[in-house]
């Protein structure tokens, strides 16, 4: 019994230590917002890398998500349900769930692991120490611009993802299921509520913050050379994905209820 208590006790302690450290990095990054002008080049560069750099991948994946969602919706609805409902379901599920959450899980790999391995490599090759020695705060130079880019660019990426997915859904509906464009658009209009867009974008903002914060944290805490860099990237994907799914439940429950 004692080893089990010790085992879980250690896991619990580690979790709170990491949680405290992540909060520290978040607080320090927020503190660095005072120097926005000083780090403007890094912020613009990161916005480009996180945002524009993710567009091709997100475009391809969103297209297939839209196609699959439409085909599955058509399969699930019974013959006496009007077909225009396909447009309603595709739009709402993309805006509220698939767009933000599924794409965030993909971006946890592309953006989060990328940040962790980049900063981690800088850490183990003394580049982070070099920054510090040159009078430049690594949190301000490396962490804050990435978090800001994640928070600012994820909602834009998700809007793009939803537009592409709905386009894909429309293509599948009109070419494979005999639904007219007018019916598809009618279905979308019937369920469209501004609050859905707001909920989807709120989720995207939170996910963007989680992925970039955890990626930066794992990178800054990297040690033990190449092995440590690999571990940081893996930990980022695992922890980001877990937090995204937990926050998906929390946000869906609070925001939809609140709305």
């Amino acid at each position: 019994m004692k080893p089990i208590i010790l085992f879980y006790g250690r896991i619990g302690t580690n979790f709170f230590v990491h949680f405290y450290r992540v909060c520290y990095y978040l607080g320090a990054a927020v503190g660095q917002l005072r120097y926005l002008h000083f780090y403007r080049r890094q912020i613009i560069e990161q916005m480009y890398r996180v945002g524009i750099g993710s567009i091709p991948l997100i475009a391809a994946l969103s297209l297939f998500t839209g196609l699959a969602t439409t085909i599955q919706t058509a399969y699930q609805i019974s013959s006496y349900i009007p077909k225009y409902i396909v447009g309603s379901i595709v739009f709402q599920s993309e805006m509220l769930e698939l767009g933000p959450t599924l794409m965030a899980l993909v971006l946890a790999g592309r953006v989060g692991a990328g940040i962790a391995s980049e900063i981690g490599t800088m850490k183990v090759s003394e580049q982070v120490d070099a920054l510090t020695s040159m009078g430049v705060d690594p949190i301000g130079y490396l962490v804050m611009p990435r978090i800001l880019a994640g928070v600012a660019m994820f909602p834009i990426i998700i809007i793009f993802a939803v537009v592409v997915a709905v386009g894909g859904g429309h293509y599948a509906a009109t070419t494979m299921m005999g639904v007219s464009t007018a019916d598809f658009v009618r279905g979308m209009k019937e369920v469209f509520r501004a609050k859905d867009v707001w909920v989807g974008l709120t989720k995207a903002t939170v996910y963007g913050g989680i992925i970039t914060l955890l990626g930066s944290y794992m990178g800054m805490e990297t040690d033990q050379g190449a092995k440590g860099v690999g571990r940081a990237a893996t930990s980022t994907v695992v922890s980001s994905s877990s937090f995204i799914l937990i926050m998906d439940y929390v946000l869906t429950r609070t925001l939809l209820k609140f709305s």
Binding site: M122, S133, G135
Partner: protein, 241 residues
């Protein structure tokens, strides 16, 4: 002047520094010599405030480093150049951007002035015309020289060298040693060289501080250290420790 007064530092239950006392005077080149794990690099990191002592004082000029605020520490660091063991060049930047990094971050110099200063620094380390190369196109010796050019870009008052010849072939190590000695004379700066390279320390230093077991075992001119008949010092100088 850089001064350590009874500095202690531990990592967990590993006691790395056990009461370091050392003063480095203006314009002096002091080498900190000692076997691996004797606390040489840890000592260096205390000067720029990357590490804080558990006990004792670290002074740079009239500033007590552990007590400096974040902004004061940033200001102090602008006057200290550091050459890291791995050179620590930024992979994502060209040679020019690496050398220009501090100038862009901390000065209001125009791009033309920065380009001129970068060229000057690279000339001083005998590496002119490599501005557009990427760090991964450079040899080990070239990386160290670019790191040195970056360290002198802001015309610092102090330069700290962390194992400047580690990983280099003997011929390149001699070139880097000569370069350190020449920069010391031409730029009239105060330098601390952390190394386990006895020959380098004897060739370029005004004084040598020999570290052993987290303490300063001996301080003196290269001649005095070489002639010391203490068993430990003799063994180290002869490469037996």
């Amino acid at each position: 002047m850089i001064e350590f007064k009874d500095v202690y530092k531990s990592f967990g239950d590993k006691h790395v520094l056990r009461g370091i006392n050392l003063a480095v005077n203006e314009g002096e080149l002091v080498s900190i010599l000692g076997p691996s794990g004797s606390g040489k690099s840890v000592t260096l990191k205390h000067i720029i405030g990357i590490l804080q002592p558990d006990r004792g004082e670290v002074w740079v000029d009239d500033q007590l480093v552990p007590k400096l605020s974040r902004d004061e520490l940033q200001e102090l660091r602008k006057h200290i150049g550091v050459l890291f063991q791995s050179a620590a060049l930024f992979d994502s930047m060209s040679v020019k951007d690496n050398v220009a990094f501090m100038l862009r971050m901390h000065t209001k110099m125009s791009e033309a002035e920065i380009s001129q200063r970068v060229a000057e620094c690279l000339e001083q380390v005998e590496l002119g015309g490599v501005e557009e190369l990427e760090p991964d196109e450079l040899s080990g010796g070239m990386r160290k020289r670019v790191g040195l050019a970056r360290a002198i870009a802001m015309k610092p008052k102090y330069i700290l060298y962390d194992e400047p010849t580690t990983g280099l072939d003997p011929k390149t190590a001699i070139i880097i040693g000569d370069l350190i000695a020449r920069l010391q004379k031409t730029l009239n700066i105060t330098s601390i060289v952390v190394t386990h390279d006895v020959k380098l320390a004897c060739d370029i230093s005004d004084r040598i501080a020999l570290f052993h077991d987290g303490k300063v075992a001996a301080v003196g001119s290269p001649d005095e250290i070489s002639k010391d008949d203490n068993d430990m010092i003799r063994k180290f100088m002869e490469g037996q420790l």
